[in-house]
Structure formats: structure tokens, C-alpha cells
């Protein structure tokens, strides 16, 4: 924010500096039947073009610093060839436009930003485009509050919502991306912040490849094949995202593959085939996540080095964890995680169970052989069976365990207001229902 203010300050200063020369920084209007491109060609740097509602069938190249402002109903239709808008200049803004029908080649996009810095793309609607916004070799661009969808097709034939190739310093905030290939693709890029975006019904929510220093916060990623796919990247912060409903047989909530220095904190990972999968990671810090209702809560593959894994809540995952590597601790030495199938007690009152939590029950192993038996998940007879199984300690073959399991779920964040209201309601209903039943009981004792 500070940086931004300074930048704006500099721009204003520059404006003042140029005032005598730049008196002609005009507001121009483009109407139905006119060409936006011609208006751009005639405009001077610094001009604002107001696009009135109409369908403009043309592709546009912006090669000077102008502001393109669409009124509601202003549509630019690329006619299915190439890019709809190509930006080659810096400090351009594109606002309030509907941008549709790009070509379908690899890099064809609704908006292509190429070797241009400090542009702002805000409040646009992009639809039927191959890629939504493609930013190549550029710096410090801002993509805010746009809504992006690709065309009706299998995701392998679509492009990405926001694709960043090389370059750095971009900010993506509040975008809504639906039905593309990968929602946000970080391709050899660095220093990007993605905040409060919503990606759904695509292949991957976010796809990190060979990227560095990316932070993704408070994004909502749901109903894709895989939520967050992080590969061969480093210095990644994933915080307070909600990653839900990835049911695909090979779908993951968050997959970290050969990645270094990752912080995964405060995320909600619900209802995925596999919640969190870690493969050959180095220096991972996984803390205070809610991992619930997944088919498989957490999976470790290969060798994961120097990791801290603590204070996560594992609730109602059918299989809480599957571990096929070595060198992994499920606790940080002081505090472990909360596992809702843990059944021992805290005798010393420090909030930590006295017995270690062992991953993998008898049922987990049965399930691997008989996947259909999941139909009986936690049913009375299966419960009886696993309880009987757990009485024979020789069956418990798991070597990986949480030595400091938490007795109560770690506090992550929840709204206190709602909690209060529900509790009030529960007291009232509880008292009323008890009173009624007592009345019936007492009254019923006397016949007439």
C-alpha cells in the first residue's frame, strides 16, 4: 500500500510537471459504429476513452498510456481471432468492459499484456476467451475484480484464467474465474500476491510452476479437479484459503511437489479426494489448517525434509493419513495435531494426550482392499470390528505417529457472534423440550 501511494504520488508529481504541455489530456467518447482502435490511434498519452454501450467487433492494440473506460453494456468482440486487447504500453487502465471471443491458439487471450508494466485491469468481464488475461515478461500489473470464463469445452481445450509468464510483482485481487483450464497459472514468475480470488469448475485452481515468492491468501478454490498444484517452486505462502470439493478420483486439495519453503497456514481443506499431499518437499511449515471430510486427509510420498507439522485439525476424514515415506514427524515436539479418531486421554491437564496417536487403523487397511466397504463408514458393526481390532496392539503396524496429539481442536478462527446466538437458541430449545417431556411423563403417570 505504501509503495502504491508513493507510486501514485510520483505520477501526480509528473502530471504537474507536464501540466503546461499536457493540457490536452482529454476525455474522448467512442460510440456505436465507431472504431475504438481509431480513437486510440488518434488519442494522446494520458487520454481517457469512454466507451459507450454497444458491441464493437474489433481487436485492439494499445501502445500508449491511456485509460479505457467502458460504460455498462460496452462489449468488445474479438471475432474469434487472436487477442481481443493487446497492451504493449505501461500504465494503461482497462475498466468496466466486456471482452469476448478471442482466438483459440495457445497464447490467444482476452487481454494480453506484453513487456508492459504498471497496468491496471479492473472490473472487466471476460468470456469465451482462450486465456483470460495473459501477462508475459511484465512487472507490477494489477488485475482486480474481473470475472473470467472460457468457452464451453473440455478443459484440455481451454486456456488459463490468469496466466503469468516470467515477470514479477503482480497483484491479483478479487477476481472470479470459472470454467477455464487453470484458474491462476504462475509460470516462471515471482513476487506475486493473489488475494480473495475465487476459482471454480476448472482443472487446477492455482498452478505454480518454477515460481518464487508467491503468496495466496483468502482465496476460494472449489469444485476443480485439483485445488492448488504447487510444483518445483519455492517460497510459497498459502494462508487462509478455502479449498473445497475436489471430488475427482485423482483430485487433490493442495498438492506440494518438490517445493521448498512453503507455509501452509489457516487453510480450510474440506471434501477433497486427497486433502493435502506432500511429495519430496523441503522445509514445509504446516500449521493450524482445518483438514476435514476428505477421503484421505493427508498423504506423504517420498522424502520430505525439515518439516514442521503441528496444530492442524483432522476431523471426519475417512482415512486420516497415509504415509509412504520416512523421516516425518506428525508433531513439532511440543504440540501435535487434533485427530478426531484419537481415543486416549489427557491426564496431566496440558491439553495433550498421554498416548501417541497412531496413523492407520484396521479399517483403513481393510478399505484399501475393499473400497466398497466405505459404505459402512463408522457404522455400528464396523465400529465394533475396529474396536475389537484395536484391542490387539500387534495389529497396529503404523510406524508414523503423533507423539503429542491434541485433546481439543486447535483454535483456528470462527465468528464468536454466531457461536453465541446458536448457544442461546440451544439453551432455550433444550429447556423447553425437557420441560415438555417432563410434563408428559409426570402427567402420564396419573390416569386421568
Amino acid at each position: 500500500m505504501h509503495k502504491l501511494l508513493r507510486r501514485i504520488g510520483i505520477i501526480i508529481l509528473l502530471l504537474f510537471w507536464f501540466v503546461p504541455i499536457d493540457t490536452s489530456a482529454n476525455n474522448l467518447k467512442v460510440e456505436d459504429g465507431q472504431s475504438i482502435q481509431r480513437a486510440i490511434d488518434q488519442a494522446k498519452a494520458g487520454d481517457t476513452l469512454l466507451i459507450l454501450p454497444a458491441v464493437y467487433k474489433e481487436s485492439i492494440v494499445i501502445n500508449k498510456r491511456i485509460n479505457l473506460k467502458g460504460e455498462k453494456g460496452a462489449i468488445i468482440d474479438g471475432g474469434g481471432i487472436g487477442n481481443v486487447i493487446e497492451i504493449n504500453a505501461s500504465n494503461v487502465t482497462v475498466q468496466g468492459l466486456t471482452i469476448q471471443n478471442s482466438g483459440s491458439a495457445q497464447e490467444d487471450s482476452g487481454i494480453l499484456i506484453k513487456k508492459a508494466d504498471g497496468n491496471r485491469i479492473e472490473n472487466n468481464t471476460l468470456k469465451d476467451v482462450h486465456n483470460g488475461i495473459y501477462i508475459a515478461n511484465s512487472k507490477d500489473n494489477q488485475v482486480l475484480k474481473n470475472s473470467i470464463t472460457s468457452y464451453q469445452s473440455h478443459f484440455s481445450k481451454r486456456g488459463n484464467g490468469i496466466h503469468m509468464f516470467k515477470g514479477s510483482g503482480h497483484l491479483l485481487n478479487g477476481n472470479k474465474i470459472t470454467a477455464v483450464q487453470d484458474g491462476i497459472y504462475y509460470d516462471f514468475t515471482a513476487d506475486v500476491k493473489a488475494i480473495e480470488n475465487h476459482v471454480h469448475e476448472s482443472r487446477y485452481g492455482m498452478h505454480f510452476m518454477f515460481s518464487k515468492n508467491i503468496s495466496a491468501e483468502r482465496n476460494r478454490i472449489d469444485k476443480n479437479v485439483t485445488g492448488l498444484m504447487v510444483m518445483d517452486s519455492a517460497d510459497i505462502l498459502l494462508q487462509e484459503n478455502s479449498v473445497t470439493d475436489h471430488f475427482h478420483v485423482r483430485g487433490f486439495g493442495i498438492l506440494l511437489y518438490e517445493t521448498e519453503n512453503v507455509v501452509v497456514k489457516g487453510n480450510e481443506i474440506l471434501r477433497n479426494s486427497t486433502g493435502l499431499s506432500l511429495e519430496n518437499g523441503v522445509n514445509l511449515f504446516i500449521n493450524k489448517n482445518l483438514i476435514a471430510a476428505n477421503q484421505l486427509g493427508i498423504e506423504f510420498v517420498g522424502k520430505n525434509n525439515k518439516n514442521l507439522f503441528a496444530e492442524n485439525n483432522f476431523i471426519g476424514n475417512v482415512v486420516q493419513s497415509r504415509i509412504s515415506g520416512e523421516d516425518w514427524r506428525l508433531d513439532d515436539g511440543f504440540r501435535g495435531n487434533y485427530w478426531d479418531d484419537y481415543s486416549s486421554f489427557d491426564l496431566t491437564g496440558d491439553g495433550i494426550g498421554e498416548e501417541a496417536y497412531k496413523a492407520g487403523s484396521l479399517y483403513d487397511r481393510i478399505l484399501r482392499k475393499q473400497p466398497y466397504w466405505q459404505f459402512f463408514f463408522e457404522s455400528p458393526s464396523v465400529k465394533l470390528w475396529t474396536k475389537a481390532g484395536s484391542l490387539f496392539p500387534s495389529f497396529g503396524s503404523a510406524e508414523v505417529y503423533d507423539a503429542r496429539p491434541l485433546i481439543e481442536p486447535a483454535e483456528i478462527h470462527y465468528s464468536a457472534v454466531e457461536q453465541n446466538r446458536v448457544n442461546w437458541l440451544s439453551r432455550v430449545i433444550g429447556i423447553v423440550s425437557m420441560a415438555i417431556s417432563l410434563f408428559v411423563m409426570v402427567k402420564g403417570r396419573k390416569y386421568r
Partner: protein, 273 residues
């Protein structure tokens, strides 16, 4: 009919059976909600606490309903009270339905008390179990009770003595709650893969306990609990057809035994004289 129902309620309330079961159920419900709450975690779908609560329902309510209904009815038969009642000018319909209503009100009061106690404990322990979830379970518990009370009438009519009624109730209970699932699991090992899904689907409707169990899991969180292999089944069962079939099956399970015991009573009266 009203008098028969009232008399039934009075008899039940005065007996120690119901009080005992009521206390057991309430204390278990309270313990499960108190010990197993995952309130602070911010997740309120199907988890192991709700599973435990569900299992208490699935284990205790059928047992309670079967025992109370069948023991009272067979006891009355043994003591000739039922015969006396039938010498009055009342139809077997009003006898059976009156008794059914009486039984249901008694069990309802126990369940309401138990759930009320659990809710209060939630309030005082400051846990965040959602009220709508408990309400859902309450509803399903009542459905379970309705089904098994109606089954218990059949047992009570058939059994010659209290002990026979006790035995039959326990066997039926154990079969439905425990052995049925093992049987289905065993069958699933023998059958072809493509037959598994239809078989599981049918198995839901043949056992009222499965019916309630599956339906309550579905209404809590839906798709994930049964896993990717059963995704088709889940979608089908959670859809309109599945819901309609569920209600239809519930009504059948509740009404058929009642009708059957009325039919039986009409003939049974003739037999015993």
C-alpha cells in the same frame, strides 16, 4: 382408542423400564456431545462425534423400542389383560393403534428429554455443535422409534410369553444392527463388481437401520462420506428419487407391521378361544 393410548402411556410411565432407558440414553447423549465436540474447529459436517451420536441412536433406540413394545404387549397377553380388553366392544384397529400411539408418546418423551439434556450440556460447556444438526438427529431418532415400535407390536402379538418376546426382540435387534452389515460385506466379496452398487442400494431399503443411517449421513454432508466408488449411489440417493423412495420406505416400514398385527390380532383372538 384415546383411552387405550392413555392407559398405555400411564402403564409405561409407571414402569421403571422407561425411566431406566431414558436415563441411559440421556447420559450417553450428554457424554458424547460433551466429550466428542469439535466445536472450535469450525467444521460441522459429518465427523466422528456425529457418527458416535448416530451410533447411539442406531443402537439404543431400536433396542428400547423393540423391548418396550413387545414386552408390554406380550405381558398383557400373558396376564390376559389383552383378552379382557378385546371382550369390550372395541375393534382390533383401535386397540393396536391406541397402543402404538401410547408407546410412541412414551418413547418420544424419553428422546425429547435426552436431546434437551444434550442441548443444555452443549450450552454450558460452550461447545459449538449446530442446533440444526441435533434437530435433524432428533427427527431421525423419532423415525427410528416409529419404525421399531411398529415392529415390536408384531413381535408382541406373536410371542407366547414375555421371555419369548425378549428373545425374539434381541435376536432381531442384533441381526439388524450388527449382523446385517457383516452379511452384506460378505456378499460383496462374492458378487461381481457391477452388481455391487445395485446390491448396496437394495440393502439400504431392506433394513430400517441402514435406511436411517444412510439418510442421516447424506443429509449431513452428502457425497464424500461414502467415497468415490459410491459417488453414483450418493448422487442418486441424495436426489429427488432417492428422497421420495426414502420417505416411501419409511412409511412402509412403519405402517405394514401395524396393519399386519391388526390382522393377526383379529385371527389371534379367534385362535385363543
Amino acid at each position: 382408542m384415546r383411552h387405550i393410548a392413555k392407559q398405555q402411556i400411564t402403564l409405561l410411565m409407571r414402569s421403571h423400564w422407561l425411566t431406566g432407558f431414558g436415563l441411559l440414553f440421556s447420559s450417553l447423549a450428554v457424554m458424547v456431545t460433551f466429550l466428542g465436540n469439535t466445536g472450535g474447529s469450525g467444521f460441522d459436517g459429518f465427523n466422528r462425534m456425529t457418527a458416535s451420536l448416530l451410533n447411539i441412536n442406531l443402537l439404543l433406540i431400536p433396542l428400547l423400542s423393540l423391548l418396550i413394545g413387545s414386552l408390554f404387549l406380550s405381558g398383557e397377553k400373558e396376564d390376559r389383560g389383552l383378552l379382557l380388553l378385546l371382550t369390550y366392544p372395541v375393534s382390533p384397529w383401535s386397540v393396536i393403534i391406541g397402543k402404538y400411539i401410547g408407546l410412541f408418546v412414551a418413547v418420544w418423551s424419553v428422546l425429547t428429554f435426552g436431546y434437551g439434556a444434550a442441548l443444555l450440556v452443549i450450552f454450558f460447556s460452550g461447545a459449538g455443535v449446530s442446533v440444526s444438526l441435533l434437530f435433524l438427529f432428533y427427527l431421525y431418532s423419532l423415525m427410528l422409534a416409529a419404525i421399531f415400535l411398529s415392529l415390536s407390536l408384531v413381535i408382541g402379538i406373536f410371542a407366547k410369553s414375555r421371555f419369548q418376546a425378549l428373545g425374539i426382540s434381541l435376536i432381531i435387534w442384533a441381526f439388524l444392527v450388527l449382523f446385517y452389515e457383516f452379511l452384506i460385506m460378505g456378499l460383496s466379496l462374492l458378487l461381481w463388481k457391477q452388481w455391487l452398487l445395485p446390491m448396496l442400494t437394495v440393502s439400504i431399503f431392506l433394513n430400517p437401520i441402514e435406511l436411517i443411517r444412510v439418510q442421516s449421513i447424506l443429509s449431513l454432508d452428502g457425497a464424500t462420506v461414502f467415497g468415490p466408488r459410491l459417488y453414483d449411489l450418493t448422487i442418486w440417493a441424495d436426489g429427488v428419487t432417492g428422497k421420495t423412495l426414502f420417505i416411501f420406505a419409511f412409511l412402509l416400514w412403519m405402517l405394514l407391521p401395524v396393519i399386519f398385527s391388526v390382522y393377526r390380532l383379529k385371527r389371534g383372538v379367534a385362535d385363543e378361544e
